[in-house]
Symmetry: C2
Subunit: 117 residues, 2 copies
Amino acid sequence: MTNKHDLISSDQVEGTAVYSPSGEKLGTVKYFMVDKISGDVAYVVMSFGGFMGMGNSYHPLPWKALHYDPRQGGYIVSLTREQLEGAPAYAQDMSPDWSNDTYGQQVDTYYGGLPHV
Amino acid sequence: MTNKHDLISSDQVEGTAVYSPSGEKLGTVKYFMVDKISGDVAYVVMSFGGFMGMGNSYHPLPWKALHYDPRQGGYIVSLTREQLEGAPAYAQDMSPDWSNDTYGQQVDTYYGGLPHV
C-alpha cells in the first residue's frame, strides 16, 4: 500500500493567489525552484506586486510556509507581514544565482529562525 | 553545512525538450505533479506530439526517469520507445483523476517493474 498522495499540477500552482491568514491578498505564486536530482520543491517564489511600495518583488518561501485553502482557491501563507518584509527578496529582472547554495542558505537561515504564526 | 543543491526553476522545466538516449526528440515537458503536503515532484508529465500516431498524448513519468543534459539543452529519458509505448498515458483534454491514488499507482506499478535502459 502506498500512502495517499494529494497531487497538484505545477501549472495550477503557478499564478495561484496567496493570502494572509486574515484573508488579505498578498500576491501570486510565480514559479518554484526544484532540486534537479531529488525532485523536491526547494522554494516557492511569490510575487508581491507593489507590496508596500517595493515594486514587483520576488520572495522565495519554503514550501511548508504555504497551505492551500480550497475555500479561497488560493494559498494561505503562515507568516506575518513583518516576517515577509524582512525576508530575502529580489526584483523581477534580478534573479539571484541559484547555481550555488549561497542564496538558498540565506533563505533557509531566515525562515529556519522564524517561528511560524 | 547544507548539501549542494542543484536548483532549476519550474518554468524552465516546463516546455523543455525530451530526447531519447540516441538523441531523437520525443516531446516536451508540459507540467509536473507535485505532492501538496511534502512538496515532492511525484510525476513529470511529457507531451508526445503525434508520437507513433497517438495524437497529442500526455505521459506521466517518474522524476528519476529524466536526466538533464546541458549539451542538448534538454532532458534525456532513460526508457526505450517500447517502454514509453506501453506506459500509462492520456489525451491532452482527458486528464486523469489525480485526486485519488488509483492512477498514480498504475504509473508507479508500470515503472516500478521496468528495468531502466
